[in-house]
Subunit: 330 residues, 2 copies
């Protein structure tokens, strides 16, 4: 099993990306880790520890976080990200990871690795946190801003297979993000998608509301990329602002600082639970290979956990399963 | 100034609605309060206190919270909600309030009071809480599920006038809800709306993200009813779940209960700050008269505060100002 990692993308690249790759290579000796990026820098961060299952593949160039995605991918053929994608396209790697520019990675998926036959639009998938720690797999969270009902149907099928194969959830409950739970709620898109999902080969449980996601109202949440991204950021912003305000309240007097000392570990736990960047990488599904977006702020643990996620997906033959099911439902 | 109140709509109707109306009538003797509903029940809750500026208008029927809106409004001509709308339509009241069935109230606005000339789609407006207590006026939050760019333009104009006239904010900053702040972000709808907003007679500050609403990133937030409703419920659900989880953490041991005692008032304050039902009624703008939706759980304070909101809107000639500006921009 060969996993290619873009060593140069992310806030802490290459240092923590390389160290994360190293930790994964040591933990799972059966994985061949292909580290793509500037050889000198990668070697520096690997130090004298390079295990035999790490191979460095030199890339001259890097795509920056603020570059215009399509232009950057088209022009920078020798960038670490594009070269990582080429390894998957050419069958030299079974999966790729990158913590770099999200738009550029989606473009690399589409233009370099290539869209899966039968898929109209790939979807960006994220595990949303839930209070019971099981999580809700949500897609699309921003790959496709103008979804059609047929796209939502494909998201539902891809998400179900992912949830089953990679997370081991049997017969995952699929919900459609909507403004109410009744069948006739929503806009033209959700109403038409509802009809398609009713007869799809999935366990469709109907419409679900954004307010119930944290209490694990479904296993797979289907939404268009615009509404899904708005939901994700509203949840993230609300949690972040509340935690900050509570922290300020705790530090306002000696007495509240005492209360803070008592509650510290519990609040830290809760904050971690709510941090969706803790819940693994975000796969881009509908691509002719496994492409996983790691959060920009990824550290050693995040990279290692994304490698584990890729390993599970490869072992369970995720991509060929999705391709077979999509073709059956064409 | 005459304000008509549907005495029979809401979780605590007629009791707290009547008591709220009574409190408002006592506080502002210049307002004529028209209480619409079952005379016997209204009289019972008024007791012997009926001030001379309260008039009871008898209505035989009530629209229930789960009734199908259009059917209910069409069939129940003698319901308290429809009759309250008729008072506005017939010029016998300057505004109407109801805490009843939201869909039915929107239908009453459209079919009974009537759409404002030049407006394509009315919008439901809500004040979202912000940490600095100033609030963000957001529209549309669910009146119109399939918005066109021209609708968003009209929301922006109506929201700006409301924010200025009713809340006294001069030159309110108008933001467009989007998945990123850069101009080219978003779906076809937001991209087209961005172009219209750039040249509109408002203080347009560009795209804003859902994660920054709580820190008061704009004064008026323009969005389509579907995405806006998703955002509202994601914020509401995240805050609700976090408060519940924190409350559970506080009650887990004697020591944490001590911390809870110290932090109680601050957390209660924060919870109240986050409760958007505390922030007045939700006007339905784009109607030929002032229609305000009060939260279903409205109590005496909420009704009184909605009467105050209606009073400010009437005094500032909100509806005629909106009509004039919409006609200027046709």
């Amino acid at each position: 099993m060969r996993i290619a990692i873009d060593a140069m993308g992310g806030d802490h690249a290459p240092s923590l990306i390389v160290k994360g790759a190293l930790a994964a290579a040591v933990e799972w000796p059966a994985i061949q880790v292909l580290l793509v990026g500037d050889t000198a820098q990668i070697e520096e961060h690997l130090g004298s520890n390079k295990p035999s299952n790490i191979t460095i593949i030199h890339a001259d160039d890097v795509i920056g976080p603020d570059e215009e995605p399509v232009k950057a991918v088209r022009r920078k053929k020798n960038s670490s990200m594009v070269m990582t994608g080429q390894l998957v396209r050419d069958g030299e790697a079974d999966a790729m990871l990158s913590a770099g520019n999200t738009g550029a990675l989606m473009t690399t998926g589409l233009l370099v690795v290539g869209r899966m036959s039968g898929i109209e639009r790939p979807a960006l998938v994220t595990m949303l946190p839930t209070m019971n720690d099981i999580g809700v797999l949500a897609l699309d969270l921003g790959a496709n801003m103008d979804a059609k009902p047929e796209h939502l149907l494909q998201y539902a099928i891809m998400g179900s297979i992912y949830r089953n194969k990679v997370n081991g959830v049997s017969n995952p409950r699929v919900g459609l993000l909507n403004v109410g739970t009744e069948e006739m709620k929503g806009n033209e898109l959700t109403k038409a998608a509802f009809e398609l999902l009713k007869t799809a080969p999935i366990n469709f449980i109907g419409n679900v509301e954004a307010r119930d996601v944290l209490v694990h109202n479904c296993d797979v949440l289907v939404c268009d990329g615009f509404a899904g991204n708005i939901m994700l950021k509203a949840m993230e912003g609300t949690a972040g602002t509340l935690f900050k305000t509570i922290r300020d309240a705790f530090s306002s007097s000696l007495l509240t600082k005492l209360a803070a000392a008592i509650m510290q570990s519990k609040l830290r736990q809760l904050r971690k639970k709510m941090d969706y960047t803790e819940h693994g990488g975000a796969p881009l599904l509908g691509i002719n290979g496994l492409v996983i977006k790691c959060h920009g702020s990824s550290d050693v643990k995040a990279i290692k956990s994304a490698v584990r996620q890729a390993k599970l997906a490869i072992e369970s033959q995720l991509i060929t399963s999705i391709a077979a099911e999509i073709n059956r439902n064409k």
